[in-house]
Symmetry: C2
Subunit: 450 residues, 2 copies
């Protein structure tokens, strides 16, 4: 088993390693060195052979020589690169006014009026930040203030952000990124290795045990937080009977249930606008980010009145750029496009095409152990042997880098870096699926043992 | 002394209070209620009579009825509302490509090449976030990792951000916003009440005492962080011999010196591009934000190689929107405008006009105890009596709200809310100064005792 990703400090799944610099062409090597000199040692690039990009349109990217790439990975530009309607909305608002929430403005109120009814349940208010990290950080600040506790429960390889607090409950950042002493982990629902019928009970029981441990240490539980697609754990979209029992256990202990929709929200799952809704759970706080403004830095939370009332009374929240007039124009246009172009339906339909196509390839290639996901968030698990289900990181990374050489962009995920992560913009169409599948099969045929 | 701002939870200097709702016109009251319903209890509006804005140009704002306001407060749109060059740069880049730092791109490298030489000293690398809060949060994560300590020293009424970590060292958020147990405060350099000649030694001695206390509690000192204009402490631009001795004391104890340039950076002080340079100090980390992209959410840090090397080796930093292609286009255009329109010089020249004009008004109005600041960051301290220097919050807030009724926008600051804060876009010109001064004098004449 390749546990590279776990044991090397700062190592990233599918990250470029300076050890591979000798293999790069001269221009790329020069840019890599220039980046290191200017941006320092904490930045990472994708792929053994990093990609330079200079233009994008829909699901296509172009380098500065005009070479075309199929983008099957970018979930930030959810409605497609440089969507004209979003560009026009941002441009128009930029020329009129860009300012903050301490003045009265129409745009933020109109957007909140469109957004809030999509949640239902106990959600009452929207608050705006710039990034998903800020949204999760704010959600936990609110949860800690509401409960008077500080314990946080997450899944084993969760990622929830880059702030001090959220990095402290993002174990996927690696062994040397310290977790908070009040953070506890439960195993992700590995539907490939465990009977889906028992995973629901198991997860709620695991959470109950960790709550007990947090209480035993005097911290208590402020919140459980999870992304309902368990993206960085390896992508487990099913079963969907997991999170409602967890929420019940957490609430009985006085904690809040937070749905991190930065990855799974805004139609990504193809079934519901919000991933948590597939689980039939009613969160106290929902956090959102990445695709919210199609690349414009806008993110936020939706929160119940009960969760936020004490926080709002005792403190205040201001974010200079969060919810500014341009951010709201970007978010409104993106929201409108998702609705008007019926991208929820497209995510379901196109996602099924991809999963079915890869399942077909798996009939001819034993290394694919599992194909899973929901909508346009797809995981393909590579194994050395379907019987033992031993993870095969080397093949996964060979496929990711082989596709990159054929100008198709995907990545890998999971604690063993052996799960292909396919997560294209929501405007991916059948012609793009054909290209993706055909290139995937071509690359797989070059693998040893294929 | 009015200590309202300190004692009421969540109360904000110059914030609208729901208790004043009855005095609003019907449309404003309806919008205030709509905000409360949609955005919840944690949002605050400026002024007793909140302002609705719908368009901006240069230093002017307009409400939706077309009424014009003079904006003498907005330091986010540093080069002016809707600056055509910044709008064009963002628009052009949006139509080409909006994506992140895990691909090679030219824009981020070119911007870093322009930005980094402006710091000098030990600064080597630039890293990009979306907000000043994220920049300060990242700076402290790096400092904690570098030093293995967690103590943070700040000034009494500092504001450094809204994340869990940064709110924990932002006492100006109010009495109910908890400070970290590893946070210590030193008094701000009150040049109006203390002999400037002794403030430098006093501040270094105060910091040394707090370092001792942090070590005594087993935390040690990770960093001292300050905004060199001490904005939320009441605006103390002088003396400028304070921070170099502080940095020496902090470094002797193994900590880092962090310059928070979110308020004072990008030419605001009128003397140097970066406020800390007025103090002749050489920081380990510089953080920046607000005006960096003229309203586009872009922020970042500049850091020494020594400070960030262990962090970069052991961990990694990725911010989905931070340093994306559009953020860099916005930052580059803003940087170019500051240089090409000579806004550093304008800040010095126009700032002096304002300060001299207010000093002239002070000859006719005893309530103005002190006029201070640097460049276009100006503080005007209101007192009940020039002998006792007793703070006069009521007059300060009456002036702020009186000016608002005359459509001139400023605010107030300081622990006693008695310091007018005048902080216009850097393109403020002599004609705007005339209007500001004339309206200020008109409002002052309506005050009791004027």
């Amino acid at each position: 088993m390749n546990t590279h990703a776990k044991t090397l400090p700062g190592k990233m799944v599918n990250g470029f390693s300076p050890a591979d610099a000798a293999g790069l062409d001269q221009a790329t090597r020069a840019n890599v060195e220039r980046r290191e000199r200017l941006l320092g040692p904490a930045y990472r690039l994708f792929y053994k052979n990093p990609v330079e990009v200079s233009r994008g349109s829909g699901v296509l990217l172009y380098d500065s020589d005009g070479n075309e790439y199929l983008d099957a990975y970018n979930n930030v530009v959810g409605v497609g690169h440089a969507h004209p309607r979003v560009v026009a909305a941002i441009t128009g608002q930029l020329g009129r006014l860009c300012t903050h929430t301490r003045y009265i403005q129409e745009g933020i109120l109109r957007y909140a009026e469109d957004l809030l009814p999509t949640f239902g349940g106990r959600i009452a208010h929207a608050m705006f930040t710039c990034t998903g990290s800020e949204a999760n950080d704010l959600a936990l600040r609110i949860a800690m203030h509401r409960t008077g506790k500080r314990g946080i429960i997450i899944t084993s390889e969760a990622y929830h952000g880059n702030s001090h607090l959220t990095a402290g409950f993002s174990p996927s950042l690696g062994e040397r990124s310290p977790l908070g002493t009040w953070v506890r982990r439960v195993p992700a629902p590995d539907s490939y290795r465990f009977d889906p019928a028992v995973l629901g009970r198991k997860m709620a029981a695991d959470v109950a045990a960790q709550i007990h441990d947090l209480e035993r240490h005097g911290d208590g539980v402020a919140a459980f937080i999870a992304d309902s697609l368990f993206s960085s754990d390896g992508i487990y979209a099913d079963p969907t009977d997991l999170l409602a029992p967890v929420a019940e256990v957490v609430r009985q202990a006085g904690g809040l249930f937070i749905a991190d929709e930065v990855q799974s929200g805004f139609a990504r799952s193809g079934e519901k606008l919000w991933g948590y809704q597939r689980h039939g759970v009613d969160p106290d706080i929902v956090t959102m980010g990445k695709p919210m403004g199609n690349g414009y830095p806008v993110a936020g939370i939706a929160v119940s009145a009960d969760a936020v009332s004490a926080f709002g009374h005792d403190m205040r929240y201001f974010n200079t750029f969060g919810g500014n007039t341009v951010a709201m124009a970007a978010a409104q246009a993106t929201f409108d496009v998702i609705r008007d172009e019926k991208l929820l339906d497209n995510a379901a339909r196109t996602g099924a095409l991809i999963r079915n196509g890869i399942a077909e390839i798996a009939r001819r290639f034993e290394g694919i152990g599992d194909v899973r996901g929901a909508g346009l968030y797809i995981g393909v698990e590579l194994v050395r042997d379907r019987g033992t289900r031993e993870p095969d990181s080397a093949s996964a990374l060979a496929i990711v880098n082989g596709l990159r050489e054929r100008r198709v962009l995907i990545s890998a995920t999971g604690p063993n870096s052996n799960v292909l992560k396919i997560r294209p913009p929501l405007v991916f169409g059948p012609q793009h699926v054909d290209r993706l599948l055909s290139e995937l099969e071509t690359v797989i045929k070059t693998l040893p043992g294929a």
